[in-house]
Every structure is written in C-alpha cells, then in structure tokens.
C-alpha cells in the first residue's frame, strides 16, 4: 500500500449505475497505468488509499443533479459536502470514508472524489445517460492526475 497514486472505484456492478465508479476506475487505471481498487465500506476505502500520496475516488451519486452529470470534489481544497449523496447500499459511503480518514490522520495529500449521477440503481449494466458520461468521467480522472 505504498503506491504514489491509486484510483478507487466504489460501487456494485450488479446494481445498475451504482457500478459506474468501477467502470470509470478500470478504464482510467488502464490508460494511466495506475493501480485500481474496488471497494465498499469506509474502512475499506481508507484502506484502499492506504498511504498513497494521491488518491482519486469515483462513486455514483444519487439525487445530486441530472443523470450523467460528473462532479469533481477536491477534498483538500474544497469543502467536501458532509452528506455526499453516495449511492452506497450500506449507508456508509465516501463521505464517511473521508471523515474517517481525517479522524485517523490518514488522508492522502491529494484526494479527489469524482461523482457521476446515476439514473437507475437496479439491474445489470449502466443506463444510457450514465454510459454516455463514462468518457467524461475518465477524462476528469486523467485531468486530475495531470494537474497534480
């Protein structure tokens, strides 16, 4: 867990658009040659970034905007919304991981969360609106990495 940079996809690929984080993380990781992790509860998200200097977390959002809208939060410089509308089915999501990491003194130097608003959270595969947003989200990941 001592990589410089990690990309973390959060979600469940068998729950419709909830899987978008995993799809985007996989593509961006392959393009950038950066390790990818897929996780769920906040303990595991904090574990996934470990002691990396830079971490980019991609998760589906629910109820934040129109389906397919990609939102980028720089956790260190923006105020991270305390109730990041994660689509996690476990009630514990990215906002909790950020809060937990902060409480434990375990936030990466650069931590960016990229949210992709979902349309449908059941069934297999992404909805058309969200599938169309994957390229934008991958682009957002690569842009964050090139600017960091």
């Amino acid at each position: 867990m001592d990589e410089d940079t990690v990309i973390i996809g959060v979600g469940n690929p068998d729950r419709g658009d909830d899987g978008v984080g995993i799809v985007v993380a996989g593509i961006a990781g392959a393009l950038a040659g950066v390790p990818v992790r897929t996780v769920n509860d906040p303990f595991d998200i904090v574990d996934a970034w470990g002691f990396a200097q830079r971490a980019i977390v991609i998760d589906a959002t629910r109820g934040a905007s129109e389906p397919g809208v990609v939102t980028v939060f720089d956790v260190r410089s923006d105020s991270f919304p305390p109730a990041f509308p994660s689509s996690s089915s476990h009630g514990l999501g990215v906002a909790d991981a950020v809060a937990l990491g902060r409480a434990l003194g375990r936030l990466p130097r650069l931590l960016v969360v990229i949210g992709v608003e979902g349309a449908a959270f059941d069934g297999e595969g992404l909805s058309p609106e969200v599938a169309a947003a994957v390229d934008d989200a991958v682009g957002a990941v690569l842009e964050v990495m090139s600017n960091a």
């Binding site: 469940n12 068998d14 729950r15 996780v39 769920n40 509860d41 906040p42 303990f43 595991d44 904090v46 574990d47 089915s89 476990h90 009630g91 514990l92 909790d96 809060a99 937990l100 409480a103 434990l104 003194g105 375990r106």
Partner: protein, 431 residues
C-alpha cells in the same frame, strides 16, 4: 385522571441492506406494543433458485449478503455435497475454515468498531468515535484489513468471493502466495487481544434475560461449519432434522419469516449462543482472554455480545494462524460431485449466527426446492423480547435515552439492518 400514553415509533429508512422499524406503545405504565418490523422487500431467492444447476447455488446465494457471503457459500456447498453423498478432502475442508475465519474477522471488527462501540461510548457514529479514539479505531482498521486480505487470498476477492465451489475450491493458493499473511496475522493477534481488553471496559447496560441459545456445536472444536445443532436447553439434533424442530412463519409486521422452536418458542443464535455452548473449546489464547475479562458461560446479557465478538475474533485469528503455519498446497482443489437426486442440508455459523440451507435436487442436478434460514430471521423474536424487557425496566428514562438504549439493543444482534438503524428517526406521541 387521564391515562398517560407514550408511543415510540421509528418508521423507515430506505436502504437496500435492510429496512426495519421499531414501534413501542406504553399506556399507564404498561407496555402495550413492542414490535421490531422488517419491511425490506422480499427477494425471492428461494424461488428463483428453482430450475438452476446445483453447482450455481454457492454463487447465487453469496449475493444475499455482502457482509457474510462465505457463510452462504459454505452452507450451500455443504448441502449440495451432502445431497450427492460426497465427502471433500480434509485439507480442502480446512482451507474453507480458513476462509471462514477471514469472514468472522472482517464482519466482527466492522460491527464492533464502526457500528456498536459508538453506542456504548455515546458517539453518534464510528467516525465520531475515531476522532476521539484514533488509536483504537486505527487498530480496528488494521484488523479488518487482515480479515479482508485473508478472504481475498482464498476467495479471489474481498467481497463476494468467487473461489468456492461444490466439491472444494476452483483454485487453491500456493504456500508462497499465502505466506505474507502470517506476519499480518501475528500483528492481528496482538490487535485482537487488545480489542478484547478494550471492549471489556465499555459500560454495559443491565439486561440479563435468559433465552434458549442455539448454535452448531461439536465435541472437539468451537464449531464454525461442522457439528450438530445444540441448544442450552438440551436440544441435540443433526442438521438434517432442522424442520422437525424449527418452524418458520409469517407475521404481519415483517417480510422476513420469524422462526421458533416447535412447541417451545423463542430462541436466539449468534455469538452468545456459540459461546454459551462451546466456551471451553475456544482456542486457549481466546479462552484465557475471555476469562481475563470476566467472561464465562452462561452469558445472558445481550449487550455483552460485543465482548464475545472480540473473543471470537481472537479465536479466528489464532485458528487462521495455526492453519496457515501448517499449510501445504492440497494435491487437488476439488473432488468431482456428480449430481444425485435427493435432499441435502447444510449449516454453518455466520458471524451473526446459525445459517441453515436445504435443497432438493433432481438426477440432472436441477434445484427443485430451496430453503434458506438466515440468522437475523431467527433472532427477530428475541430482539423483540429484549426490547420489551428493556422498555419495562426503563420507563423512567426520557424518550431520547430510551430510543438510544433500544437501538443499541437491536445492534447487539448485528442484524443486517444494523447500518439502517443507525439513522432511525424517532416519533413520540404522548397521547
């Protein structure tokens, strides 16, 4: 004088993992209503298993729970192996125990540190707890990582592992692959010991209520996936006899079936049941830790389940180390299991209690019928009995205190809706 009434209603939280509610009504100092409802939509797993191949059961049922998929896989593969009359290789069976240890560690640690300990110390969440107790929560994080690593090494991935199959595993790891786990588990043993000592200091509400405790139990080890079904009131039956002794029934307030012992009534499964039935069979290091903090069977205060979970975590870590130390890659990962028409039963101890599966398959290996009895369904009656017991003894407390106590009490059972009840909303109608 007008009658005085109090109503505590916790209505709804939308969450896929579980949707539950709590309703308590008190009239003139008497509890009139005390219901723990589960209204999670039915998922029909038992119905859609029909017609599927018997070999698909472990992968389908694993999807029932993201926290204890190994338990579902284990109960289903064992049921299928028993239906087909196949005995798996002892080395493979031991590897399954090792995988199960990983699940106990992951699940128990998540529950203790993030979901339950905050209740005892007056924090609203595990994150708030972490801010004031970073060393303790950091230790929990490290422990859980080791559980995850164990599941990942044997199961192929941390959540919904994919390696187990009817007859064994699809693939078994080499010694070289699993050796890096040994130093991590040695650290985990220290962390688990410290966890026992820490949770034993938590302030325990008084709530002793004797119950019939039911668990898988064996004569020579602390049972996880082998043994007979035994109870603290003398039941001692083979897994195959489940339906002769237990009854599942619908109750209006719940989409989950309620279970009881035929002609007898309530019972509970889980850590207290395992400990009360098999205390002396814990690994010596875990038994010693239990006794050091004053834990001795019978434990009838459900709030002390957090201490038993810590002891079981230590047991699982120590057992995993023992298996890893001796590990040599088994000669073959699985034995062939040709389908045989018949009925198979499987039971194992999920972190939150006994999980029973029963399947009927035909000669082509198609599933004709499936029955799955999860621990949370079995515990619903006891959860309600605890709530009633607590309300009756704490009527002098204001609604906020009472609600906190009741939610904490529900979490004693680590039900799969526990993450939901962290956000219960309280409505009080004083009539």
């Amino acid at each position: 004088m007008p009658s005085e009434s109090r109503r505590i209603g916790v209505e709804y939280i939308s969450r896929v993992e579980g949707e539950g509610s709590l309703r308590v009504a008190v009239r003139d100092g008497r509890v009139e209503e005390c219901e723990f409802g589960i209204f999670e939509p039915p998922r029909f797993f038992e119905a859609f298993m029909r017609g599927r191949r018997f070999t698909e059961a472990p992968d389908i049922t694993a999807r029932i729970c993201g926290i204890c998929p190994v338990a579902y896989q284990m109960s289903s593969v064992q049921a299928m192996e028993s239906a087909c009359g196949v005995t798996i290789d002892p080395a493979i069976d031991e590897l399954r125990t090792l995988l199960y240890c990983g699940e106990w560690i992951e699940s128990h640690v998540l529950h203790m540190y993030l979901l339950h300990a905050p209740d005892f110390l007056g924090y609203e969440s595990g994150i708030a707890l972490a801010a004031d107790h970073p060393a303790e929560v950091g230790r929990g994080l490290r422990l859980k990582q080791t559980g995850n690593a164990l599941v990942s090494a044997l199961g192929g991935r941390e959540i919904h592992p994919v390696s187990m199959r009817v007859g064994g595993f699809h693939r078994v790891p080499t010694r070289k692959e699993i050796e890096p786990l040994i130093p991590r588990l040695e650290q985990a043993r220290e962390d688990a010991m410290a966890t026992v000592d820490w949770v034993a200091t938590l302030p325990m509400p008084e709530a002793d209520r004797d119950d019939e405790y039911v668990a898988l139990a064996a004569d020579d080890h602390y049972a996880i996936h082998h043994g007979r079904i035994r109870s603290t009131r003398g039941m001692d039956i083979a897994v195959e006899e489940w339906n002769d002794y237990f009854v599942e029934e619908h109750v209006p307030r719940s989409t989950s079936l309620h279970s009881h012992i035929r002609d007898r009534g309530l019972y509970q499964v889980g850590p207290l049941a395992r400990f009360n039935l098999s205390e002396e069979l814990l690994r010596p290091v875990a038994l010693e830790a239990a006794h050091r903090v004053g834990l001795r069977a019978p434990i009838t205060n459900p709030f002390r389940s957090i201490v038993v979970r810590a002891v079981e975590t230590l047991h699982a870590v120590d057992l995993a180390l023992d298996i890893l130390d001796r590990y040599q890659r088994p000669a073959r990962p699985y034995v062939a299991v040709p389908p045989v028409a018949g009925t198979g039963h499987g039971a194992s101890e999920a972190p939150r209690g006994l999980l029973y599966h029963r399947y009927e398959i035909d000669g082509d290996g198609r599933i004709i019928a499936a029955q799955i009895v999860p621990p949370t369904a079995q515990n619903q009656g006891s959860i309600e009995a605890d709530l009633l017991h607590l309300v009756e003894r704490n009527l002098d407390k204001d609604d906020a205190h009472l609600q906190h106590l009741l939610e904490q009490s529900i979490r004693n059972y680590d039900p799969c809706i526990s993450c939901s009840v962290h956000f219960l909303r309280l409505e009080v109608d004083r009539g």
